[in-house]
Symmetry: C2
Subunit: 411 residues, 2 copies
Amino acid sequence: MFSVCLLLFGEQIPSFSRSFCTKPISKPIIYTHRSGRQVKARMKKLEEKMAELGENFKSKHELKTPKGTQDFGPEQMAVREKVVGIITETFKRHGAVTIDTPVFELRKVLMGKYGEEGSKLVYNLDDQDGELCSMRYDLTVPFARYLAANKIEKIKRYQIAKVYRRDQPVMTKGRFREFYQCDFDIAGPGELMMQEAECLKIADEVISKLELGEFEIRINHRLLLEAIFEASSIPSNLFKTVSSSIDKLDKIAWADVREELINEKGLNELMADSIGKFVCIGEEHPDWDNSSLFDWFCSDNLSASEEVQKSIIKAIDELKLLFNYAILFGCKDSRIVFSPSLARGLDYYTGIIYEVVMKDINFDITDVISILKKLPNKDGTSPDGISYKIIKNSYLILAPYLLDFFSNITG
Amino acid sequence: MFSVCLLLFGEQIPSFSRSFCTKPISKPIIYTHRSGRQVKARMKKLEEKMAELGENFKSKHELKTPKGTQDFGPEQMAVREKVVGIITETFKRHGAVTIDTPVFELRKVLMGKYGEEGSKLVYNLDDQDGELCSMRYDLTVPFARYLAANKIEKIKRYQIAKVYRRDQPVMTKGRFREFYQCDFDIAGPGELMMQEAECLKIADEVISKLELGEFEIRINHRLLLEAIFEASSIPSNLFKTVSSSIDKLDKIAWADVREELINEKGLNELMADSIGKFVCIGEEHPDWDNSSLFDWFCSDNLSASEEVQKSIIKAIDELKLLFNYAILFGCKDSRIVFSPSLARGLDYYTGIIYEVVMKDINFDITDVISILKKLPNKDGTSPDGISYKIIKNSYLILAPYLLDFFSNITG
């Protein structure tokens, strides 16, 4: 065992722009060194520690990663490099530059930015020298701080980096405490809906290139949601909770959503039926295309106040503009779908709301298990009869179809 | 302002190998979404907070990064990508695979691995849910844990990632609290000195490709140091402290080192003169090449005990083997220099010790300042008359020559 450890020079260079040494330097200076059997030495210390602790330490438990985190071996890293390569290439081709920010921030920068729930999930560092720091919860607040600190008003930047949330991890759903986010943001003024359209185009390109099968991008407008809520006389303080019920319409039937709205969210039947008329219009007319839906929302038969009608028309006009730009940019017409029930996390959607849905991923995981059960089982069998080794070796092939399990941590 | 945030799929996939959902999935599932003017919304919150705090917040101070950390803008990131690209390409060409480990580890995994001094510099996370975690201090202990947890005995791996040390930051010397390490390790058995030679070759390749000018790789053997210490009757408990004096010989004269050894380190004159005979042999004979030095150490005139003589010959034989392999691998003969006084941080060097020294970097930073002072000064002047803006714009060109300031954080 032998090691080289090179310092990443690029990390150090920028300090020059802040301040630098003015002391004369008269001799060539060492700038990198280190070798020796360092790993061996530290492995030895680990082994000594293990011996000291006896059987207690020998359990794999002691060598585990912290809750909600994981190691990535060479095979997983190969997949990650491929995926990140595709994403980076796309972001760059759209003219974005990248930045990097520290993995922790001053606590006061993060506090009050994620709501009550979010703030509870922030990892804090120990107060070891008076400066209170916390791990970044997303890349957006650090980006906002970077813009403010450097007085930058216009930038197209991407950042691909890990973020940290002290959430209850659910590995099967892909909810981890340490995970990557790949952010692309356009800061600064732009033509109405032009920047939004570019982001749609980028999502379209990335997901196409990942070759995961056919997909659609569902789109809605917060302004439209607000208008139809008002048209249904739903109190504004219920906006968020009612939205989260409405958003389930792609998974459960309207009858169930209606029941939830009345029994749990406090709407009366009149309100529920009114909002239902708006958000179910797509399901009721599966043959309608985006234009037909737009036309219906702009028609006179919605029995809404003039003001609400104006808001609806404004929202629809913006959506039309967005769709036109997206098509112009080369998005496939059939992939861009107007979805009036789409709400997602309204906390951070101030305008256009969207989500990507895979259309070809529609298999039953139990089928996969039954296939795997029939495969030769050389490398040990799990308690329920499935070779995890085989599953591990299969994941490279299965990976694209498994992405649907990992949908819960994008918020 | 508008944003796309794609989840890094590669991060999520491997969880499948551990456990997975067995619930039938009957509908296509969303796997990525998020847009909206999130940055705008969070900028707004930041601005509200700023307004709330009044003048206090408006100071740039409030938008700073934590002590010892820094942001990297697009220009700096371009340099980093270039440098990391060269390093990665070299590591891969030598057959290494990469892994990734969490940025924090269970505290018990890190404790007791870095000595008393090192342990003080470890960042701890708050005890927020009972599992005590700390930020990684290097990539070596996590690598050792990864090997033990996965029972891997043979791997050639690299890892390029940030590490964290709660050290007193010295920006001018490139000592940060958050910085990158680029580790390359060969785990597992190998021919004597073969793996060490490959690491030398990698260092040679990387530094050549970075085009920083001519350099040499200075090499020593811990076994040789131990033997000449014994030949000089230096008590073994003084090994570390005497070594750290000896190691200064590339910066200060022997007379000064000798004084330090006698007045501060507790050696008598006899011991000091004996060790001096060994470690100054290179400086006394600047015309000698590696072979002449090897021959001198193996000659009979060292007046050492038979046992010590045997150790010296063993060390020299290993060094000869290493040099032969390195030349065979294509390292330039003149770049590989046997340096009997080289000691570095003996804590982690158990065998071959080496460091890289730039030979062309021999300028006075005050010269740079005086040149910069003569440049047109458009963008504001620093207190001592130097335009930081110009320095910032110059660093891309100057960067290679500034690397020598960043030598203190490789340990």
